[in-house]
């Protein structure tokens, strides 16, 4: 039996972005990602995303074994297109937020977080 390459199962950050945007162009614009510059503990890193006109925001940790972190879809009663959570980071890396705006365009923000102790250890 020939083993399948591991690559067949792992989705890279760029692939996850392409799946979200359908390959559309991603520009800078109406999106803000707030993350600490330095996180002592990668097990729980606070982040916040916000955008005035986003329908959805996807967050990725580009250096994690599985880059997808969360996708926030805002409903009619969302008072703001913003949300906060706490995430795991395997090590120092870029955290990326991509918003799909109401007009169908995509914008992106990114932030480098320096991690002292990784959060995906086994």
């Amino acid at each position: 039996v020939v083993g399948l390459p591991l690559r067949a199962f792992a989705v890279t950050g760029d692939e996850a972005i392409a799946a979200f945007t359908g390959g559309a162009e991603v520009s800078e614009g109406d999106i803000k990602l707030t993350a600490p510059e330095i996180a002592e503990n990668g097990n729980t890193v606070p982040i916040e995303v916000s955008s005035d006109s986003a329908a959805e925001i996807m967050v990725l940790a580009m250096g994690n074994p599985e880059p997808a972190v969360a996708t926030f879809k805002f409903g009619p009663l969302a008072a703001s297109r913003s949300a906060s959570t706490r995430i795991r980071l395997a090590g120092t890396q870029d955290v990326v937020a991509i918003a799909k705006l109401e007009d169908g365009s995509f914008v992106k923000a990114s932030s480098t977080v320096k991690v002292t102790i990784g959060g995906c250890g086994g």
Binding site: N43, A61, E66, K73, G75, S82, R86, G122
Partner: protein
Amino acid sequence: MAEGVKPRVKVPKSAAAGEAIVIKTLISHKMESGQRKDDEGNVIPRSIINRFTCDFNGENIIDITLEPAISTNPYLEFEATVPEEGEFKFTWYDDDGSVYEDSKKISIE
């Protein structure tokens, strides 16, 4: 059902009609990422909350897809508009098929 799962939400008791309020939620859950290994080197299977939704009187506020990179005891904070008196409904969906719910009433000042 995963053990020791307890949802907690923080919502104001009252608001002005049309006011934006902050909602904070936390659910105790191990959020096993599927990346860790046990002492024998076997991968510990993934077991996470994979979706969270919040609705008010049947209308959606937010619908979140969670991945294994969300920390243990997932914390979520967001803002909702309160058009009238009513009830918030919070729902968490576990990988194992369990569904955890909570609700909070709010009155108009």
